[in-house]
Amino acid sequence: MLVRLAAERATGALLRDHGTLYLVDGRVVHAESPASPGMDVLLTTAGRLPRENWDEAVDRAGAHRAVGRFLVDSGRLRDGELEICHLGAVFDAAFFALSPTSGPTRFRYGVGHWFGTVRPVSAEAVERETLRRRELLDAVWPYASVDSAPVVPRPAAPGQGVGARRRALLAAADGVRTPAELARVLGRPAFHTLLDVRRLAAAGLVETPLDAAPDATPPPPPPEWSPVPPVSDPDIALLRRLRDALEAHL
């Protein structure tokens, strides 16, 4: 559907269960998803932008759909910073919005986003990147269970390095926060956090608390009878005609 909308140079919002893509003339200009931190989280968590500055930009420029532009013109952000942060957020949200489990797709023509256009990306590039990211996750560690479950650190083997970024991730992994929540706490894109969690899982440095206590709840006993869907009486005459027709062909 995205490719068709790109071909007809559509403008509007592509709505799915896990997120929304905004198109202008068939190119992706913005994306957001409840699963990924927005620009505001990415910029304010690390202290790059005070929350008041963000709110001011939304108040003053949101109605003209030029919040990104306002942040640069008012000297809060540089062009390069805005582009790097925004592209990161767009591809991050698109990954979740375009996931196969994201449900039905609707398109509302003419709908725009208040953030405004920063650096449009072709719809094909977004779709290709989303696919590449899915394959990358599975190449690192092909078990999706660590994507949504809270994880806890495991002790490193002697001489096993972790790296500063992943040390910060491990320090925040308390067995309650899911990877999506960790991303928000750290002010990092959600896909990057998923990828780091899978890399840590592959290295044996995290586990889900369920792994630690596998026998906490016994599996439910199988039902004693297998339910059979109700069937109305077969149409004997129809079955005879079918048999005759098949025999005539043999």
């Binding site: 990415l42 910029l43 968590t45 690390a46 202290g47 790059r48 932008l49 640069v72 540089r78 062009d79 390069g80 910073e81 805005l82 582009e83 790097i84 942060c85 592209l87 990161g88 591809f91 650096r119 290709r128 990147e129 590449r132 990211r133 990358l136 390095g161 972790v162 790296g163 500063a164 970024r165 992943r166 040390r167 910060a168 750290l186 002010g187 990092r188 894109p189 896909f191 990057h192 990828l195 780091d196």
Partner: protein
């Protein structure tokens, strides 16, 4: 105040420049590209250089000493640059320092005969700074 495209265009004006890109080393995403790729596909080159950059950025042997001064800030790359020399060219990978959490670098591919490695290294450092500081 340059954006990504202006920054890459400027990198391409360096002597012997054949290709330039801005890449996220955590995901392997190319945020912007200019010129050619050694394998004919910028996205493949981005994914491959990202793996190399990630190794340098994450192994403690390269990063341990650098962590002491300003504390572990997500936006401050402990490694400044990487240089890979091949028979036909040079690859300069310059980490970009941002004040929000990010993981991006500039990659410049130079021709070995016409490129000037020392100049490219200095200019790429300036460009990385200009990209985020204006």
């Amino acid at each position: 105040m340059p954006g990504i495209d202006e920054c890459l265009m400027e990198a391409m004006t360096l002597p012997g420049a054949r290709g330039a890109s801005l890449v996220d080393w955590n995901s392997g995403l190319a945020l912007g590209t200019a010129g050619e790729s050694p394998v004919g596909d910028h996205e493949t080159t981005a994914a491959e250089t990202a793996e190399l950059a990630r190794a340098a950025a994450e192994f403690d042997s390269f990063t341990a000493a650098a962590e002491e001064p300003p504390a572990e800030d997500g936006g401050v790359p402990p490694v400044e640059d990487l240089i890979v020399t091949t028979r036909a060219g040079y690859h300069v990978i310059r980490f970009v320092r941002t004040s929000f959490d990010s993981s991006v670098f500039l990659h410049l591919w130079l021709d070995r005969d016409t490129g000037n490695l020392a100049l490219a290294r200095i200019r790429l450092g300036d460009l990385a700074e200009k990209l985020v500081l204006g």
